[in-house]
Assembly symmetry: C2
Homo-oligomer: 374 residues x 2
């Protein structure tokens, strides 16, 4: 038997329209190493938004269709159409991760062993009622874990662990993190507390600082405070955090971090015309701020600003190290790697005007969990 | 006997004045492994200017003293004084490299072997009539080489070779270079021609493009041209040059290079929401443009912008590889590594109003060679 179910689709037309809709699709018969997962929970992550919306201006979003089969249309500015020439005209399924029960399994022992089990899955197209995946992409979860708890077992947990692993691989000893009160930031705090790593948290609001201190964060600085630069320099000097992971990717925040690193590194040191020898490094892993990033000459030449993405990191560490990280995530999904959602929605509700408004304004406090069968 | 001679000095006072002057200094008796070099030629490199001027505003430079012992004073803006707190009040000798004859030698065989020989030297304080250096920093040159020809045997040649070595170490196959018509850029062209490496030269003026084509450059693009972005993308696509060395360090040039690299990498490829997987890398090794560097989100996350300096590179490659590079430089100093100067000046003339004007405006076409005994 084949399962048929709804799937969220994103299409950009050659005329410059974004069209979001729900399409009915039939899952294939699973191959020997494949399983069919009934997706019961899938988070909408910031990393899903680029594929979901492309460069469309979501302020122009208009609802359409029926309550059960909503359709959203929005305008893609003409000058940005070139950026997405590679996907234009192709209806694309969305959703980086999710969790659910294996309802059908291929003939291999590995696949059969998962039948009836709750698995966390990754690999795209998860905003679907059913999804056929290779057993390699399905991580079995403990019996006492719910689909809701297992939904975000991959993107945020692996990213947070990836930051710590990258720090270790590159011989840094402590970290700076921006947008630090996010789900990801909270996870990173719990990992660093457990592993004895100093973490400097940068937030924009005092209530975010309070939230992080309540979960045990020792170093929290508020970028809205008048004393931000001094506070950050002190925190870097106290921790030796010369590696930053930045979610904003625009404006002056990375520049301020590198400048404070340099101020910390040169405290009490002799003059060096080329800046300090201490390597000051920032990885950009998100683009919450779409304005250009500005880098000044305030920290010499021992600096590096690079992009960081999860997939190349996982390719670099290889399968064995990745499996070790996955096992930790499965073991600690209710504690270290627990996620929080502001709303639980059906596939249709994910395309509601309220949801469009929240995404379009990139309200980072807003975090949706889709229940495709809700 | 001890040699006494003039030495160019740079002093920043606590009151915020830069003072340039010539001081009489006596060389010490050389230790066993040291030699006294009579400096006959020393270039003023862009990399000397930071120590020479600090953050002083050279538009405020005023001549003083006597024709034989000129003194230049200039204002250091108060808000920039903190940057140079580590050197304030200390009279500093200047000059990264030079060449001359060994007039006195320590007792070791290595030192004695250099007596009467022309050597190229590095290690600072070269704008001096005499300089005591360790034999390790003195590279003997062939008999048919003049001090003038040997004066720039270190900074530019090692930097140009360092770019090529870095390219090889990081598994890139071709290079992009900005400010490509400089002495350094011409050297890099000759190295790349000799070694069969594709080099994309970025210049600002058509006469610079002509100059480079005349010495054999195959890929030259003009950043002042309307077709710059398209020309650069074509050149990168034709050469596979995904590593750039940039001398400007400010404005939008690095951003344009990374954007054109991305355009080249994605030609004919399927859509990837995070940008291409091709690593696009830029090393900043100079600051000809002091405005902030702007990086946009036009090339995904597989990018890196880092500072690059000669000294850490040399530390990384170690003594043996460095010696191999030095031997090549000594062998090819009249050809591959030949330098050109616009003016030859005495120590006193190096502090003339005309020279100050040229430096202060960072006239990159202006390149002085000092003859300290001239």
């Amino acid at each position: 038997m084949a399962y048929t179910g709804l799937q969220l689709r994103s299409l950009i037309t050659p005329e410059g329209k974004l069209k979001l809709s729900l399409e009915e699709v039939e899952t294939p018969d699973p191959g020997p190493d494949e399983v069919i997962v009934r997706i019961d929970a899938a988070p909408i992550n910031p990393s899903d938004l680029a594929l979901l919306f492309g460069p469309a201006d979501m302020r122009t979003a208009e609802p359409g269709g029926t309550p059960e089969r909503p359709v959203v249309t929005a305008d893609v500015p003409e000058k940005l159409l070139g950026m997405v020439a590679g996907r234009t005209g192709e209806s694309m399924a969305v959703g980086n991760e999710g969790a659910g029960v294996v309802v059908q399994a291929g003939s291999s022992d590995a696949a059969q062993a998962l039948l009836g089990k709750l698995v966390a899955v990754a690999g795209g197209e998860m905003f679907s009622q059913y999804r056929c995946v290779n057993v390699f992409m399905a991580m079995p979860m403990g019996d006492e874990v719910s689909a809701r708890e297992a939904a975000s077992s991959f993107v945020n947990p692996m990213t947070a662990l990836g930051m710590v692993e990258t720090m270790r691989d590159e011989n840094f000893n402590a970290l700076v993190h921006t947008a630090a009160a996010s789900n990801l930031g909270q996870m990173l705090n719990r990992i660093c507390l457990a592993d004895g790593i100093d973490l400097v948290n940068i937030v924009r609001k005092e209530e975010q600082a309070t939230l992080l201190r309540e979960i045990g964060a020792a170093h929290v600085v508020n970028s809205s405070s008048d004393s931000f630069a001094g506070d950050l320099t002190d925190a870097i000097h106290n921790t030796g955090a010369y590696l930053a992971f930045d979610a904003t990717g625009g404006g002056r925040l990375v520049n301020t971090i590198l400048t404070c690193m340099e101020q910390s590194a040169t405290r009490g040191m002799a003059y060096n015309r080329y800046g300090s020898d201490t390597l000051k490094k920032a990885y950009v892993y998100g683009r919450l701020d779409l304005s250009p990033m500005e880098l000044t000459a305030a920290y010499g030449f021992a600096f590096s600003v690079s992009g960081w993405l999860l997939t190349p990191f996982l390719q670099r560490i290889g399968l064995e190290r990745m499996a070790t990280l996955q096992q930790r995530i499965a073991r600690e999904i209710k504690t270290t790697f627990a996620s929080h959602y502001s709303d639980e929605v059906s596939l249709a509700e994910a395309l509601s005007p309220a949801a469009m408004l929240a995404y379009g304004q990139r309200q980072t406090g807003q975090k949706y969990l889709i229940n495709p069968h809700g």
